[in-house]
């Protein structure tokens, strides 16, 4: 995931809103991967965002090198699905080979996506192929630290 210099705000950190912009980009790329794997193009058949939940755990500083970001599916419903994300750095230098390093998690987030019919402007049911491909990506729920009241 490429961070732009302009993603920083006046405080010199990657701005919290731009983090969602970065996650949108990760999601768009994942949707296109889906198409390459025989699935439909969710971008073209239509998906809208119904909900975001984002936790900012450590300040993300701008840099030229890409920042690793994981994306996966946490649930699939009849007309919607849940996406999970983690933006992080693995510090490989700290540990000996095989011992592993520390992971710094900058952001954890979840998005509810609703299948949408662009032509009629209304929600639609997920297709069989869409469901199958999305379900094959299902993994653990996002381990949020704080839970909303």
């Amino acid at each position: 995931m490429t961070v732009r210099w302009s993603d920083m705000d006046a405080f010199g950190h990657v701005n919290n809103v731009q983090v969602l912009r970065l996650l949108e980009e990760v999601r768009v790329h994942a949707f296109e991967d889906l198409r390459d794997h025989g699935g439909p193009s969710l971008l073209e058949s239509g998906v809208v965002v119904a909900r975001h939940e984002v936790e900012y755990l450590a300040p993300l500083v701008w840099r030229l090198a890409p920042v690793p970001a994981d994306i996966w599916i946490t649930a699939v419903g009849g007309a919607s699905f849940e996406v999970g994300y983690e933006i992080y750095d693995d510090d490989e230098s700290a540990g000996s080979p095989g011992a592993g390093g520390e992971r710094t998690v900058y952001v954890r987030a979840a998005t509810t996506c609703v299948a949408y019919d662009l032509a009629t402007g209304s929600a639609r049911r997920l297709g069989t192929v869409e469901r199958e491909v999305l379900e094959s990506w299902i993994d653990e729920p996002v381990p949020f630290r704080r839970r909303s009241r």
Copy 2:
């Protein structure tokens, strides 16, 4: 709250990430109001965003006229506070005077803000005046429709 033409994305709606940009703007204006009312400038003494939760309930369409947005405080802790928001339109035309119209709610959101010392780069406790002013703004929790699992 002024919506820019560029807040629309390729689907022709105000983009879900830009909605958070709009809420940032509402928050910044509220923080400056706080200062005008004898409070400190949270922008200058430092506040960072630790969490966002956003529900998109109806598509927001770009227009020249400002869109009403409410902002209030839902909780105040030792070093943090919770902000609630609602972006909406009141349809006055539907009802007779006094009867009131329908409210279309586009977005409901909550943000956890953490007081931050810009000089040392670490969290700090809220000051007495900050707490008092923030507590005077406390209102109901955000009535989210979906609750995260």
Copy 3:
């Protein structure tokens, strides 16, 4: 013209690219004014940007209060027209009433707009009403300081 907090970059000034975003907003509002005055909606009938020239003369600092911006037409052709802009502040406090104050010019810019048929995706000629309304707005060329070589 409203400046958003996020228009600042990591240097703490309104970012030079965001200045063009602000000018886009000024242009969009002017185009809508055009429609209110009996002209067509250039936004709907289609206009694309073919050229920008921008001079940054003084740093623009973020503030809550709107920043004055002038927009006018400098030339009208068969299928295109030229827009001029100035972003500035008039310091009224310096002079006595009637004597006028100093004007600080932050930005001068010019944009070439080409009439565009959204349906066919190609350039089109300006309509008679479009030409008449645009020509009624013609004023002096933008007094750029530096000329390109």
Copy 4:
């Protein structure tokens, strides 16, 4: 140069203002290259944009694959320098090997950068190393199609 999905506007093309955002990113990467080649970090020692001139020659459509962009220096002065850019696609498929394909040029642009002392907030002269490195990058002026009047 990576184009984000959000760089598209409501017309479905990469927005003309976002093109300048992309060029900023190209410039920032070139400045960091400069540092890797023994030059100073212009980002840290300070550079501000004094002027942009941009020509939009063909609509740029969003895609996952990076878009090629060239950047070079067209002039170096005592306290400023001129940057040239071209965003394009080479169509290799059209020609036989060695015969070359067609180049589609989307954007040509030029930026005047002024060396800036971040500490004092004023213009400064370019250092000897900065001048030498920048001069080693000098190439032809940007072949703009339209010339400003």
